[in-house]
Amino acid sequence: MQVFTSILVLVIMFLVFIITDVKAFRQRKVDNIKSIAQVIGTNSISAIQFQDEGAAMEMLDQLHNVSPEIIEATILNSKNEVFARYSPAGAPAVEVPSSMKDSSYLFKNNHLLVTYPIVASKEVIGKIFLVVELTELQQITYNKYRLAFLLLLVAVGFTFIVANFIQRYISKRLLLLVNTMKKVNKTGDYSTPLVDEGKDEIATLINVFNRLMAQIAENVKKKDEFIGIASHELKTPLTTVKGYIEMLKTMEDQPPKKQFVESAFKNVLKLEDLVKDLLDVSRIESGQLQLEMAKFDLSQLLDETVASAQMMSMNHTIVRKDEIREQIIYGDKKRIEQVLINLLSNAVKYSPGEQEVFVNMKKNEKEVTIQIRDFGIGIPVDEHPLIFDRFYRTKASSVHISGFGLGLYICRDIIERHRGKIWIESMTKGTVFNFSLLITNYAQQVDQ
C-alpha cells in the first residue's frame, strides 16, 4: 500500500514537471519565432514599398541558415495577397487560417503557425506568416517522458528493496513474538522471556509481553504453592475426622467414645474455618464482600471475643489493659468480630507455651485503636510488608501453624473497607497488631 502511494505521488510529480517544462519550451519557441518574424517584417518594409519580390525572396532564403525548422515563410501584402513565399521542402502552401488575427500564434498538427504584421509609418502594409515544424519539441517531450519512466522504475525498485528489507526485519520479530505466544499457549512455560535489541514500537510490545509473562509466571507459581498448601491444610483435619469416624464405625455395638466424637467435631470446625476463609477471599477478589453497617458497642464485642478466644487455649491468659470502657462505633459487627477473633487466635497460636496476651483499647478525638500483643516467636522485620499479602505464611516459623495464610489478608480488607488502618509493630519479644476505626459522627456515616 505504501509502495503504491509512493508510485502514485512520483507519477503525478513527473507529469507536472514535464507539462510545465513543455509549456515553457513552447512559450520560448513562440517568442523566438515572433522575433524572427519581427526582423523579417522590418527588413521587408522597403521590398514591399518598392514591390521588389527578388529582394524579399533573397531575404527569406536566408531563413534556411538562421532557423531550418521554419518550413514555410510567406510575406503577404496589405490586400492579403502573397507577395513572396519561401518553402525549402517544396511542401504545399499552407493557407493562413481565417481564425488567426495579426500578431498571434497557433499550434496545429505539430506545427506552430505565427503571423506578424509589417508596420511602416504606423501603417500596416502587410504581414509575415511563418510555419514552424515542431519535431524538436516532440523529441524533447518524448525524451522527458522516457527519462521520467526510467526514473520511476528506479525509484520503485529502490522503494521496493528498502520496504522489503524493513518489512522483513519487522516481520521476523513479529513472527518470533507470535511463535513464542503460540508456544507459551501450548506448553504453559512462562519462564523464558523474549530477547529483542530494538528500540522501536515492536521492542516496546515485546517488553510488555515479557512483563506480562513474568506476571503470569509469578501468579502460576503462587497458585501452585497455594494448591500445595490447600491440599495439606484441608487434608490434615480431614485425616483426623475420617480416622475417628472410621474407628467409631468399627465399634457400632458400643456406646460412642466421647473423645473420638469431640476430636472429629473439632476438626470439622477447623475445616469449616478454612473453607470460610477461602470463600471470603473469593468474595473479596470478585468484589462481592458487602458490609452490613450498624451502630454497636466495640467494647462489648471485645468482651465477647476475648472470652471465646480464652476458651481456645487454657495455657494462655488474655489480659485486658483497656484505657476506655465504652465505645459506640458504626460498622459491620460480624466482620469486626472476625478481625478480632483472627488477631486473638494468631496471638495464641504464635506464642506456644504458657504466655500472656495483652489486649488494649484506646482512642483519640478521631479514632479508636485496638492493640493485641503477644509474647511469642515474633515476625522478622523484613517480613512485615508481606504479612498482609494473600497466601503469605511466615517462613521463619519453627512450629507448625495451620491455615492458608489468608487471615491477615481478610482482616486488612475488612478494616480498609471501614476506612480504618491495620498495622504491625515489632517488639523485642513477640508482636503487636493494631487496628484503628474512625469514630464517625453518625450523620456522616461510612458509606459502603
Partner: protein, 118 residues
C-alpha cells in the same frame, strides 16, 4: 509387643494414630516435636517409625535419611506419611520403606505396618 514411634506435628492426628495403634496392641510413643526424635530413638528403641513429612521447621525426608544413615538404625523400617501425595515420589531417595497419603484408611495403615514388621 512391637514398638512404634509416631511423629506428626498435628496433635489430633497424633492422638488418632496413637489410639488406633494402641487398640491393635502396639506399644506406641507419639511425639509432635521433631526435636525429640533423637532421644526417643535412643530411649524407646522403636521397631518401626511412622513419620510425617512436613514437621513445622523440619523435613521428614531429611530425618528419614539421617535415621537410615546411622549404623544402629539403618535397618529400621520407616513409613512416611503426608497430606501431599507428591511426597510419595521421594521414598526411594530417602530409603523409606513406604509412603501413605493422608487422609488414610485405618485398615490400610495397619496392614502396611504389619507387613514391614514381619
Amino acid at each position: 509387643m512391637n514398638k512404634i514411634l509416631v511423629v506428626d506435628d498435628d496433635i489430633d492426628i497424633l492422638g488418632l494414630v496413637e489410639i488406633m495403634l494402641n487398640s491393635n496392641h502396639y506399644d506406641v510413643k507419639a511425639i509432635s516435636r521433631w526435636q525429640e526424635i533423637d532421644t526417643s530413638m535412643h530411649n524407646f528403641k522403636p521397631d518401626l517409625v511412622l513419620l510425617d513429612v512436613s514437621l513445622g521447621g523440619a523435613d521428614g525426608r531429611e530425618i528419614c535419611k539421617s535415621i537410615k544413615a546411622a549404623k544402629e538404625t539403618e535397618n529400621l523400617p520407616v513409613i512416611l506419611f503426608s497430606a501431599n501425595p507428591e511426597m510419595g515420589k521421594y521414598i526411594e531417595e530417602c530409603s523409606a520403606q513406604s509412603f501413605i497419603p493422608k487422609p488414610f484408611e485405618i485398615q490400610y495403615l495397619l496392614t502396611t505396618i504389619k507387613h514391614f514388621l514381619n
